[in-house]
Symmetry: C2
Subunit: 97 residues, 2 copies
């Protein structure tokens, strides 16, 4: 639901994670951790990122696929498209949700 999407976007770290995944889709938890540290200078524990990813996944902004011991994370921009048309009267044609 929309509530989860807005709450997921409320945190700057989660927005960074979305940035990272948009730039490079299908990363694992550890990849995201190291890239957030090296590129964005964020010093966060693995669990912190894991919890953020859980929030993003609950919002539908990130979908995951397991493969062996790896869990890959992909962005899903579909929830974003819906929430903004709430106040922005859209001119463009839509695929309705």
């Amino acid at each position: 639901m929309a509530e989860d999407v807005f709450k997921a976007l409320a945190d700057p770290t989660r927005r960074r994670i979305l940035d990272e995944l948009v730039e490079r889709d299908g990363q694992t938890l550890f990849e995201i951790c190291t890239r957030l540290v090296t590129k964005h200078g964020l010093g966060l524990s693995r669990q912190a990122i894991s919890q953020h990813l859980a929030v993003l996944e609950a919002a539908g902004l990130v979908v995951t696929r397991r493969q062996g011991r790896y869990k890959f994370h992909d962005v899903n921009t579909e929830p974003l498209e819906r929430i903004v048309t709430r106040w922005l009267r859209p001119d463009p044609p839509e695929k309705t949700s």
Copy 2:
């Protein structure tokens, strides 16, 4: 700042207020209060709404104009248009992974 916009949108009551103002622009604080109670069934004090409006105004989502003892609130959708283009590339909804 984008931070303020996301934080402003994080609260369901503030989103309701935006709904109200989109539907009927230029309302005063008391008008918003009564309409939130009657139409949406929200039981909130005047100060609660006032504080929400302050957050929305700080985010640039609401602009105010004083006139005598009245203070009218108008929506400004411009900040909304910017924040979503952060992840929604205007061209492709899909990326050939």
